[in-house]
Structure formats: C-alpha cells, structure tokens
C-alpha cells in the first residue's frame, strides 16, 4: 500500500514539477522516451494522412466529379501500350461514349446514381420508379430498426427522398444538366452519396448471415468500408445496394487478355433497368451507347 501511494504521489509530481532528483530523473527519461515514441508514432500516422489528403486533393483538381459525354476512343488512347488497350476495341462494339468519374472513392456510387436518376428522368412512367420510391420511404424505418439514430440519418434520408421525388418534374432535355449539378458538388452530393452508402449498409446488416463469410464482421465492415465518405465500393456493397433498391447493374470489367468480362448483378431473373458501368481495377466509369 505504501508503495502504491508513493507511486501515486510520483505521478502527481510528474505533472506539477519538472525539477526532480537524479535517480528519479533516470526513470523519468525512460518514461518520457516511451511517451515520445508513442507521440512520434501518432505524428507519423498524421503525416501519412496529410500526405494522402494532399494526393487526393491533387487528383481532385485534375478531374471533374462527372465528365461530359466523352468518346470511348479517348480511353483507348489513354491505355495505349497497356495490357487493357485492346479491351476498349471490344467495348466499342457495344458502347460508344463514357462519362468519366473522379477517382475519389465515390466513383461507383456517383456513376450508379447518375445513371439511375437519368433513367427515371427519361422514363418517368417506368413502374420501377414507384417500387423504388416505396423502398426509399421505408428505408428510414429499416435503418432505425437496425439501431441507427434517427438524428444521424434523417438529413440524408430527407434530401435523398426529396431529390428522388423531384426526378419526375425534370424535363428530359435538362436531365444531364440537372444531374451534373446535383451530383457534382461538396454539399448535397455528399449527403446523397452518403445515403446510398447507408442503403448498402442497411441491406448488408439485414442479411448479415449471407455476407459475413465474405466480409467478416458485417457491422465493422459497414463502419470501415461502407459508411465512410470516401471508401471505394467493392462487390458486396454493389450487391447490397442493387438488391435493396431492386435495381441492376451491368459491369464491364476489363481483362488482362484484352477482353471484357460482363458481370450482371443480379445475375438472372431480372428485367428492369441496369446501370452500365466500366470497371478498370480500382475505378468505375459510366457507359453509354
């Protein structure tokens, strides 16, 4: 007990004064060094983060969030002498244009939402619209049933739902202009994409048993890989968001042998709208005929 309380005093002395006896100083230095190493370690992490942020910034400045419609041949030209170059010849038999996405970790979500929203502006009578609207209206309750705080999700929910309802009022000729504005900014676009991430997380958590074999702890996965502002999207998230909304995607994935692998999600038994995407490792763009 005596030892304990003198150690306790030592602790308090450490904070209050810097002048110590020689023997204590030796011990102190060791303690300080360990703390220094710890601080150094944390500083290093911070520096790495700063560096990554700087890289991100540089990437951002090079590229709009979503480009205007661009000839597919531009991509082929960029991949000249690359193993993927020939893929674009094969892709050109089915598609002629591309909207290129900023590589900010949101490319899948932004490309997917752009094409889905665009589809419903062009086809306001598509019965899928009402089905999805119903799912969206119910999504707040679904998320809250999973334990999400109403305060945390409602701003995202309200904005997404409002914008989805508004699609019916947008003139077809203004579709691209409207969506380039809606999805290309650092304000409401961030909210809309974040809500898409919540929807993916919702399906993942509702069907945790189905996914945990692939992603491990589903709650952890959602926190680290889904609900972050800038973490890119892998197949589990794509399966989740398309299933939750009852939508489809056609992913045209470049192959090292110069071919294109077409991945349809859902694979079969679905005849509704599919967003048409190009996948080169680590990145999605939106394809157009």
């Amino acid at each position: 007990m005596e030892n304990n309380s003198s150690d306790q005093q030592q602790q308090q002395q450490d904070q209050n004064s810097s002048s110590q006896g020689a023997g204590e100083q030796g011990q102190d230095q060791r303690v300080t060094m360990t703390q220094e190493q710890l601080d150094e370690f944390q500083t290093q992490i911070k520096l790495n983060e700063d560096y990554q942020n700087q890289l991100k910034q540089e990437i951002e400045e090079q590229m709009p969030f979503i480009s205007e419609l661009t000839e597919l041949s531009v991509l082929k030209h960029e991949y000249q002498d690359n193993k993927f170059e020939l893929c674009f010849d094969q892709l050109a038999t089915r598609y002629s244009k591309v909207r290129r996405l900023r590589r900010d970790g949101n490319c899948f979500y932004r490309a997917f939402l752009f094409q889905v929203f665009e589809h419903f502006i062009h086809n306001p009578e598509d019965p899928q619209y009402e089905q999805i609207l119903k799912v969206l209206v119910g999504s707040k309750k679904d998320l809250m049933d999973l334990g999400y705080d109403e305060i945390a999700i409602e701003d995202f929910y309200d904005l997404f739902l409002d914008e989805f309802k508004k699609l019916k009022t947008i003139a077809k000729a203004k579709a691209a202009e409207h969506l380039l504005k809606l999805l290309c900014n650092k304000e409401e676009a961030v909210y809309i994409i974040m809500f898409a991430r919540f929807l993916a997380a919702c399906y993942l958590k509702q069907n945790a048993i189905m996914f945990e074999g692939f992603v491990g702890d589903v709650a952890q996965f959602c926190m680290r890989e889904v609900e972050q502002v800038d973490v890119e999207c892998d197949q589990p998230q794509i399966i989740a968001i398309t299933n939750y909304l009852g939508l489809g995607v056609e992913i045209n994935s470049v192959r090292a042998d110069g071919g294109i692998e077409v991945i349809n999600l859902p694979e079969e038994g679905y005849s509704g709208f599919r967003a048409k995407l190009l996948f080169v490792p680590g990145h999605y763009d939106a394809l157009y005929q």
């Binding site: 602790q11 360990t34 190493q37 705080d149 974040m194 926190m223």
Partner: protein, 211 residues
C-alpha cells in the same frame, strides 16, 4: 453545407437526457427497485453561446475503477461535422491506458478514422463509457498508464480508483469543510473562507494559510 440543424437536434436530445436523469434520480429515492440506473445516461450542454463547443458528462461505469466518478468531456464540433468526428478530450483527470493522464486526449478509433456520419455525439459519449469498461492497453494513448496496466494491474487499479476519488467526485460543501477542519482550522472560519471564495477549496485553503 453547414449543418447546425442536426447539431441543435443532437443537443436537445442530450439535454433531455439530463432532465430524465434528474427525474430518474428523484423517483429512485421513492421507488429504488423498478427504475434503471441513471448512470447509464450520458449528457451534454453547450459552453457559453458557441453551438459548436459543448461539455459532455459521462458517469463512471459500475464495477470499474471509475465507478461513482463524474467525468467531464470537452467537445468541439468541427465545421465538417458530421463528416468529420467531434473532437473530444477529458477535462476531468483520469487514469486510463487510452486517455492521456496529462492532456485528456483520447485514443478511440471512432473518434479518428472509424468515425462515420451514422454516429452521433451521444453514441460517441456512450463509446467513451464503454472504453472505461474495457481499456485497450495495446493501443495506448498514455504509455505510462498502459505499461502499469500490463505490468502491475493491482497498482493500476489502485491508481485509477484514487484518481477517480480525487478528481472525478463532486464534493459537498460539508465534505470541504470537514477536509479543512482536518487541517486544524475551526469550523466557522472554514465555512467563512469557503463562502468567501465561492466554495473553491484551494482558494479557501490559501486564504486560511495566508491569514
């Protein structure tokens, strides 16, 4: 998009929690069995008139070294909130491997890279409470505390309890009077000194020693 609306809602919810605690404690006196312990609650209030600067309160969890302690947390809400985490720091001194004994800085993943906008300040405070239940010495904020935790758990527990006792417990005026009396001052003079210095124990003691 500056999202003060959400911050207002979060604050209101936490302030209502504060009210509930008061009601619960009151009811508990008359009906101690049926009601939940108020110590599970977390609270927050705004500092001055800055909507982005709060003080949070968490209660030391039962059956831990922090039981009975009331811990104040400084909360700064950045402009990018809820996309960036709130900045939190212990104001009340605490002896815990993941909290700096010097600065109150906290090592908790959800306050750093694992923060998501799906979380709220309330859920973050609850996570802090959980951190008090389950220290993680392998991911330390305070190397000295972590080392003690791993090498001499009993000493760690003793120190943590002492710190809770000394820094995290509100003392009544009577307690303070008693303490000063133990130093050999007469009761009425102790009371007078405390009154004069707004119940600040240290200032009262200085006054007594100086006078």
């Amino acid at each position: 998009m500056v999202d003060n609306g959400r911050i207002m809602k979060e604050l209101k919810e936490l302030q209502e929690a504060t009210k509930n605690v008061i009601t619960t404690s009151y009811q508990q006196q008359s009906n101690p069995i049926t009601l939940q312990s108020p110590t599970q609650q977390v609270q927050a209030s705004i500092v001055g008139d800055n909507l982005r600067h709060w003080t949070g309160t968490i209660f030391g969890p039962k059956d831990t070294c922090f039981e009975g302690g009331i811990f104040k947390i400084d909360i700064e809400i950045p402009g990018e909130y809820p996309f960036k985490p709130p900045k939190m720091r212990f104001i009340t001194k605490i002896w815990h491997p993941n909290i700096s004994s010097q600065t109150g800085a906290i090592c908790l993943d959800i306050l750093k890279n694992e923060w998501t906008p799906a979380l709220t300040i309330r859920t973050a405070l609850i996570s802090l409470q959980a951190l008090l239940c389950a220290p993680e010495p392998d991911d330390p904020q305070d190397a000295e505390v972590a080392r003690q935790y791993k090498s001499d758990k009993k000493l760690y527990e003793y120190t943590a309890k002492m710190w809770t006792e000394n820094f995290a417990k509100e003392q009544t005026v009577d307690d303070k009077v008693k303490k000063l009396m133990e130093m050999g001052f007469p009761e009425d003079i102790c009371k007078e000194a405390l009154e004069r210095y707004d119940n600040d124990e240290n200032l009262a003691l200085n006054f007594l020693l100086g006078g």
